[in-house]
């Protein structure tokens, strides 16, 4: 089954996924971001992720706020619905969308400005509800779209292109998510697609709130010497502590994993994610120890990446409320009103 709405130049021998779609079918409009912008690499990783996951395009919903990062849903999955909302408010729109139809796969793309300043409140509360979604922050330490002001994720001492270095404590979305009870927390780097793709895939298949904080350098405003969110700085200081391999349903685990450092977690829909700890001291099932580890490494100037925390057991929003499995939006209206006879009964109590 193929749903190609507009003709695309396809290589006749292009690889097709189980739906018969090529990865081109998961692409979107041509990006208008600056050449070399980290966000475009994240877009490419998303395309590969959803293609490989065989997600039916119309069952994917792309959500975003405002910013260069939030523009990117236009650049992938053109056969999926997109909702480019207002600045910082993507979480609430996704909450409502999910409330109405829990059967779609939700991918939200946001920026560090969008999620950690104007939208910090909504980000926090989406986590609290354990909203079932994949939430990607394309984190560049600045407001790209408004031309390079520091964002709340800027590190102390990070230098702007002009003016004085940042002196305020950064807000780290990963630590925030850990303390707030997010059930899937990962960090990656736009320059490491191999690491990023399985993390996004795991996030998409996780049942609950999955955060993927991606260091995604802004080449135009924050990629210079002295910036702690530049390509060079990130490459130099990032450490992968927990590798994640995504295993599709019915696929076998082929790699021989090292006993003790590997841990397999069953995800929604039968897929698995295998965690390979690079640092044996790290425990991705313990909030407290992950938090301490991250703090310690952060203080040592390291950028810790990988699948940092996972808990598949906690209920997501609908299950916490005890809602029906069917999308609420598809319940026929006739079945939703109790009828006139029942109305009389209700109103008899108001006499």
């Amino acid at each position: 089954m193929s749903y190609i709405s507009k003709p695309k130049i396809q290589h006749p021998n292009a690889r097709r996924n189980k739906l018969g779609l090529t990865s081109r079918d998961y692409e979107g409009a041509v990006s208008t971001l600056c050449a070399g912008c980290g966000h475009d690499s994240v877009t490419a990783a998303i395309v590969q992720s959803v293609y490989e996951l065989n997600i039916e395009p119309h069952m994917l919903a792309k959500m975003s706020g405002i910013g260069c990062s939030s523009k990117t849903p236009a650049y992938f999955a053109s056969q999926s619905h997109g909702f480019n909302s207002v600045h910082g408010r993507m979480p609430s729109v996704t909450t409502g969308a999910n409330a109405a139809n829990r059967t779609l796969t939700y991918i939200g793309v946001s920026g560090d400005g969008d999620s950690l300043s104007i939208g910090a409140g909504q980000f926090v509360h989406a986590i609290r509800r354990n909203l079932n979604m994949c939430y990607i922050i394309e984190n560049n330490g600045v407001y790209g779209l408004t031309k390079g002001q520091f964002s709340a994720s800027a590190d102390i001492g990070s230098k702007p292109k002009k003016g004085l270095p940042n002196q305020q404590e950064p807000i780290d979305p990963v630590s925030m998510a850990l303390s707030l009870g997010a059930t899937y927390i990962a960090r990656s780097f736009s320059g490491d697609k191999e690491q990023l793709v399985p993390l996004i895939q795991g996030a998409l298949m996780h049942k609950g709130f999955a955060l993927v904080d991606v260091i995604s350098p802004c080449v135009t405003f924050n990629d210079h010497e002295g910036s702690t969110k530049s390509y060079a700085h990130t490459r130099k200081h990032y450490h992968n502590v927990v590798n994640a391999d995504f295993i599709a349903p019915a696929e076998e685990i082929k790699t021989a994993y090292d006993e003790g450092s590997a841990m397999s977690v069953e995800l929604h829909g039968g897929s698995k994610i295998v965690l390979r700890k690079v640092d044996k001291d790290y425990d991705p099932s313990s909030r407290a120890s992950s938090f301490k580890y991250l703090r310690d490494r952060f203080n040592a100037g390291e950028i810790i990446t990988g699948l940092l925390y996972i808990d598949e057991a906690r209920n997501e929003m609908h299950d916490l409320m005890g809602n029906v499995d069917m999308p609420l939006s598809q319940l026929p209206l006739e079945t939703l009103n109790p009828g006139n006879k029942e109305l009389k009964k209700i109103l008899s109590g108001y006499r």
Binding site: F83, N84, G96, A99, P327, L336, G339, L347, R351
Partner: protein, 600 residues
Amino acid sequence: MAKLNDVVIKIATVNGTGSASANGLIMKSLFRMGIPVVGKNYFPSNIQGLPTWYEIRVTGDDYQCRSDRVDVMVAMNAQTYARDLAEVIPGGWFIYDSTWPRNTQLGRDDITIIGIPLSRMCNEHFDGARARILMKNIAYVGALAAFLAIDIDTITELIEETFADKKHLIASNMEAIKLGFDYARKNFVCPLPSKVAAMDGTKGHIIIDGNTAAGLGCLYAGATVGAWYPITPSTSLMDAFRTFCAEYRVDPETGKRTYCIIQAEDELAAIGMVLGASWNGARSFTSTSGPGISLMSEFLGYAYYAEIPAVLFNVQRCGPSTGMPTRTQQSDIISCAYASHGDTKHVLLFPADPGECFTMAQTAFDLAERLQTPVMVLSDLDIGMNDWMVPEFEFDEKKIADRGKVLSAAELEQMESFHRYLDVDGDGIPYRSLPGVHPKGSYFTRGSGHTKYGAYTEESSEYQDVVDRLLLKWETARSIVPEPEIEFSKFNKAAILSFGSSHGACQEARDRLAAQNIALNYCRVKSFPFSASIKEFIQQHEVVYVVEQNRDAQFRALLMLDSDADPSKLISLLHYDGMPLNAGFVVRRVLEEIAKGQAA
């Protein structure tokens, strides 16, 4: 005076002392005797310890508004004793708790002052501080029953119904009733000249508040997603919806819910959730008040431009800012009509009573989905939180809800291509597709400039194409929103125009003015944009008194903006002290304007 079934009782108490159930008992007893009643609760923005009043107007003539006089005052609050005493009309009655000596300096010769030792009697008969306070309230109900000739059997019946599950409380409540009743009978001439008598004026009616009615309306409209942030006076709307859903929206087999109510982190999030849910095809709504609307503004403009249905209930309260949260006003007219930056305007509905809260909830969803835009139902504290006597609601099972232009999977499959913002039918309303239905239906919803095909644009003409089509849609809205209620006689050159909770007072004022040979036509507006009939109505008159409950004549301004009404004809009668409108105000202001030389 002393007309039968024409008396106003006001009860002054302290909030948090449980007087609400006693006051409700009086209301309901009168109602069950077949006598039309109006109940108004004046309460503070506070949980315990501040003055609160409950006013019951017994109106055999069946008027739907508060009165401008008090005949019988029950003064249970020493704090407000002096002002309560002053409020009684000459010839009226003032009942107080004579357990403690009265401040003799405070007195009046022109009224009858009645002391009843309510506290002493209750302290002697009941144990425990809480019981004594509660029973004191019930005891004044007993006294009022004696003074006004309220039927004791009806009171008994109501008490038995109320405590059907706690039978041991029936005896004590009845004992308290008897204490007040017997004391009044023994020591005073009962009943008073202002008394009640059973009649046949409440058949087919119920007593309900507007928020409960709106919550019920949402249930019947098939709403499945409610997102809100608590704010007086709207909170009880979502509470009511939740209560009805708990009863009617639980799958009997699985015990799972077919509704989702989310208490959002703030109003920005609440409206964001509503938009997300509506975008996905659910009937979704929020309930809020003025401060919430202010916070929702950015999203409202988004919904207008990206064309997403949304239903909002704004139960208005007294502004500006936090204002007086427990007082009523109609002062969010402009802020709702034009909520958000840029060229934005919104469809508004103006229910006049709880009955219309029920029906307009359903109309709001139909209009929102038909027009793909936010629809705001502008109720207010008076309608939302007070008990109104209204005809029993009907639900028309044959009427099919309007889900608007939504393409099915089969329709999308057939289409060559789908473009979200094309005006295919010439009515300014494009076709919509829902996520999860068909890949051909996919489009990118955005609040940034877009072409009629849905693509991003910064081209002037492409941008203008879409915003001009939105104007055409506005005209379509004008032709389908509820028509006003008009009472017209060609002999009258002047008229009253009102909306929402001002309706009852305007109708009574027209009767009173007619009795003085001042006959006025009437137009009650039910919706915005204003239909052609409103424009015509204004043109037909030399003077139109526009009655509204705000300081700045917001509705008059809207009439000028949207229906090009001649400002020189529109005379404002503005009531904005936070109390529900009464007929006396309207009469006085009309007479003043006539005296000023305006022809009537």
